[in-house]
């Protein structure tokens, strides 16, 4: 275990986060929110100094990191980010309790969008901005950002990238991790700017457009209105729905498009699965909810928006889907688990894993019919290694175990089965709103502090795909064998 390297990275993360805190500070200046400005600046200053001290005084002789170091670095970085990012809320007094603030920040960074706020509209502007900005940072990942800007961050940085980027297989776009990270961020920034511009064109104010774009880009889902997106024009709703779907696509595909290798990009079977799941879900839900709404276009818009929001694990809402018929809710719940493509900013199991799981199940069934048959699972035009398949199945098992453990831990809450189950599903898959007591119009404020911590933990597990946190918490990672 390269503890010095882990510590040094922690220091760097503190520095980065303190710089990022200056952006909402600018917003505080613009809206003349003195208390908030003070909160951001003092937090940024402290974090920067501590980070600087750590980086200065940690001598790293050996910069080589192995897989477990990569996991530990990632987990630690995210925990630090949440711990620091929550401080301004408390100092400024926008959120009274630190646990609530941590829940809100973890929910932000993990792009969940679950909120404990009962009245969003009462929050100060800069805090709302910060809350949504955490989505944007967390969406692509902070460590990927660090790798993109700090030269020679570490040798073997692929381990960190693997730990932070969601998906079963991480493909590099170009030979160097640093350049790959840069390309990913450039695509991310370009799409963000594009969406902001389109929203502005639709008459949404600048502040609102930025906040909602951050929420969409990171597939987070923090809004600034009590009814989320519902009060905006249909044009804005369509733009957000489409961009939610766009941010749920593997970013490698955009890179291929950039290189004009359109045919290769369109060959991606994950993309097609994703699109077909979306289309089928939209069709079924539209048919199912059509009687509730006055005309077909509203029904189509609302169902598309909700499907996009749930499958991309964003969590915006234009309709209270809690009031929809049971079939719709069932489909939405399934989409929660499915999630979007690997290599995107979305959460959930990821389409590629789901496809691989189904294919390996088919393979096993065929083996039962023909015990001597040799089968290979094919995906993206290539046969999948057995080790990848087994890691996908392992992931699924551990995912279910973690899910039910969290579910069990919060089962004592008095909200009933549907609320609790959907709350865990929504947090674990980084969506945000669930059904019933945690539905799109409600919040997580009613849960006890204990449950809030457990749920925050579930969000981290979901965002980092479980293993980094498990490695980080296991004592064997840290204790030297004698």
């Amino acid at each position: 275990m390269n503890k010095r390297m882990v510590l040094k990275t922690a220091g760097r993360i503190m520095q980065i986060i303190s710089l990022l805190l200056l952006i909402p500070a600018i917003v505080a200046i613009i809206y003349a929110e003195v208390k908030q400005l003070f909160a951001f600046c003092i937090t940024a200053l402290c974090a920067f100094l501590v980070g600087l001290a750590i980086v200065k005084f940690t001598r790293t002789k050996n910069r080589v990191i192995y897989a477990k170091d990569g996991f530990a670095i990632t987990a630690l970085a995210w925990i630090i980010m949440a711990a620091i990012g929550a401080v301004p809320f408390v100092i400024a007094g926008d959120i009274k309790s630190y646990v609530d603030a941590v829940f809100e920040t973890v929910s932000g960074f993990t792009t969940t969008g679950a909120s404990i706020l009962t009245n969003v509209e009462a929050m100060s502007r800069s805090m709302l901005f910060w809350r949504s900005f955490t989505h944007w940072i967390g969406g692509m990942g902070v460590l990927v950002f660090v790798m993109a800007i700090i030269p020679n961050f570490t040798d073997r940085s692929i381990h960190i990238m693997r730990a932070e980027m969601p998906g079963p297989i991480i493909g590099k776009l170009v030979p160097r991790v640093k350049d790959t990270a840069k390309i990913l961020y450039l695509i991310y920034i370009f799409l963000t700017v594009l969406q902001t511009a389109l929203l502005l064109a639709g008459g949404m104010p600048l502040f609102d457009s930025l906040v909602h774009t951050f929420g969409t880009a990171g597939t987070g889902g923090f809004g600034i209105k009590a009814d989320s997106i519902a009060s905006y024009s249909p044009y804005c709703q369509w733009i957000i729905a489409i961009f939610m779907l766009i941010f749920g696509v593997n970013f490698n595909i955009y890179y291929l498009l950039l290189l004009r290798r359109i045919r290769t990009a369109l060959k991606s079977s994950e993309l097609w699965c994703y699109i077909s799941i979306v289309l089928v879900s939209v069709a079924v839900i539209t048919a199912n909810v059509a009687p509730i709404y006055k005309n077909f276009s509203t029904a189509l818009r609302n169902s598309t928006f909700q499907v996009a929001s749930i499958i991309s694990t964003t969590g915006f809402a234009t309709a209270d889907f809690d009031l929809w018929p049971g079939l719709c809710k069932a489909i939405l719940l399934l989409l929660m688990f499915c999630g979007a493509c690997a290599g995107s900013t979305a959460g959930g199991l990821k389409v590629s894993r789901v496809v691989m799981l189904f294919k390996s199940v088919t393979k096993e069934i065929r083996r039962m019919l023909h015990p001597r048959s040799i089968g290979k699972v094919h995906f993206e035009g290539k046969s999948v290694e057995d080790s990848t398949l087994s890691s996908v199945s392992t992931y699924f098992v551990i995912y279910m175990i973690c899910f039910f453990m969290v579910f069990l831990l919060i089962a004592f809450e008095p909200f009933g089965f549907e609320s609790n189950f959907s709350a865990v599903a929504a947090c674990f898959n980084n969506i945000g709103p669930g059904f019933s007591a945690v539905g799109p119009t409600a919040s997580y404020a009613g849960y006890t502090d204990f449950s809030k911590i457990i749920l925050s933990f579930a969000m981290l597990l979901g965002r980092l795909e479980i293993f980094p946190i498990v490695v980080f918490l296991s004592p064997r990672t840290w204790i030297k064998k004698k």
């Binding site: 040798d155 073997r156 692929i158 381990h159 030979p175 160097r176 290694e385």
Partner: protein, 454 residues
């Protein structure tokens, strides 16, 4: 520069490591997913799993955008085929590893031309050449040559009782009054580029650069000139052994080759009638004693097993064989063997990486003064480079003492019209010269002669 390396074996990995450190963008192609996984964990490179002969695989590796493709799979024929296809698909330059003597002996030049190969590399031959050079100059533990062997650089260990202990370099130059230069000193793990006041100590590894004739004179004066090895015993009838034996036989040395495989022995007996071929297990001391290891001038261990080579070489040293050379492929083992006191260690992959790295550097700037040859010394911490001086080099006709050189950079030799000499402060660099530069390999990378200036 974008480089594709096909084959992630021992040589492949060494190339990846040295070229990645040079700052190139590397894509690795290998058939074995396990090899690919391993490489992608260790090196910051792009990996493609697939057969390098396959069009689709090469397309995935973006061969059309590659400046250089290096094929180092274990089959010569596949390497040549891959290079041929890659060239047709748009790779600018191609390098193939071709090690089978049957290709190399005869018409390699023609084959190269037919296939449009930019370079062929033959690790076994390079290793054999290195061993041959060491055997020709018995005092040195390592020897590198520049400009067709006009100018050389030898590595010596200052053993107990040397005249040089406690002497500084200015005195040394006065005392021996020869045209030579001590360009690198390694003491413990530290490597120095010494100046005139540097004081030598017993146990130092030093690199001497000089004209070949001057070196021999100097070694004689230092009492280090030993007779050239007249009889050499080689363990392991490998390809390296074949090349080495051929060179040795041509220079009139008696060669004894020991191998336990009867088929190989038969093959060698057919190809090398002048050599004595022994069928026996070299790991058995009895066999070695019987064949007269105690009376041979040099012992070279070239089996495929690093560990075997190291251990048997120690045995040879204990029998007071004057020169013992072991082929060790794995870096960690080589470093350990050196610490334990094994004199000369030769590694084919290091030789290859030197050749390919210097080739890549020369490709990288096709203008200006090119890197002609490059050697990495002292475990890669120092580089010795040979540059051609082009007419556009700015600091021509300036005495060296007035030139603003970078820190830890040394001009160790000038070759002018086939005359090689170590320059003094009043010498100047003129277009058409070849100059030898010694530099610590740190952050700065010497690509061009202009890089030596501040």
């Amino acid at each position: 520069m974008k480089i594709i390396i096909v084959g992630g074996g021992k040589i492949g990995a060494t190339l990846i490591e040295s070229l990645e450190n040079e700052g190139h963008d590397i894509t690795v192609v290998d058939r074995d997913q396990k090899v690919i996984d391993e490489i992608s964990n260790i090196y910051d490179v792009m990996c493609v799993c697939g057969n390098g002969v396959d069009n689709d695989t090469l397309k995935e590796a973006e061969v059309s955008k590659a400046e250089l493709l290096i094929s180092v799979t274990d089959s010569d024929e596949i390497n040549m085929l891959i290079c041929f296809i890659a060239k047709k698909m748009g790779a600018s330059y191609t390098v193939a590893r071709v090690r089978n003597p049957e290709f190399n002996d005869k018409r390699m030049g023609q084959v190269k031309q037919y296939l449009d190969l930019s370079l062929t590399i033959n690790p076994e031959f390079l290793a054999a050449l290195e061993i041959f050079n060491i055997l020709k100059l018995p005092a040195a533990i390592n020897i590198e040559t520049f400009s067709r062997r006009n100018f050389s650089m030898i590595e010596l260990v200052l053993k107990e009782g040397t005249h040089l202990d406690g002497m500084n370099l200015i005195e040394l130059r006065k005392k021996y009054n020869l045209n030579f230069l001590i360009s690198v000193v390694k003491r413990g793990d530290e490597v120095y580029i010494p100046d005139g006041n540097f004081v030598l100590k017993t146990g130092d590894h030093i690199c001497l650069t000089a004209n070949f004739i001057e070196i021999q004179k100097l070694l004689k004066m230092l009492g280090l000139a030993k007779k050239q090895s007249k009889s050499v015993m080689i363990l392991g009838a490998t390809t390296t052994c074949y090349y080495l034996a051929k060179m040795l036989i041509r220079s009139g040395t008696d060669v004894t080759i020991i191998d336990k495989d009867i088929n190989r022995c038969n093959q060698f007996a057919e190809k090398l009638p002048e050599a004595v071929i022994i069928n026996g297990d070299g790991a058995e001391q009895e066999v070695l004693m019987e064949e007269g290891i105690a009376s041979t001038d040099a012992f070279v261990s070239l089996t495929g097993m690093d560990e075997e080579n190291i251990l048997i070489s120690f045995f040879a040293q204990s029998q007071n064989v004057p020169r013992v050379i072991a082929k060790v492929n794995r870096n960690e083992l080589a470093a350990m063997a050196e610490k334990l006191g094994l004199d000369s260690i030769v590694s084919p992959k290091k030789a290859v990486s030197n050749v390919v790295t210097s080739y890549a550097r020369a490709l990288e700037n096709s203008l200006g003064s090119n890197v002609e040859t490059m050697y990495k010394l002292m475990n890669g911490s120092v580089e010795a480079l040979e540059f051609n001086v082009q007419s556009d080099f700015k600091s021509q006709h300036i005495p060296l003492k007035d030139m603003q050189l970078k820190k830890d950079v040394l001009i160790a030799g000038i070759i002018r019209k086939r005359k090689a000499f170590v320059p003094i402060g009043d010498d100047e660099i003129i277009a058409g010269d070849k100059i030898i530069v010694i530099a610590k390999s740190g952050d700065q990378k010497m690509n061009d002669l202009a890089d030596i200036l501040r």
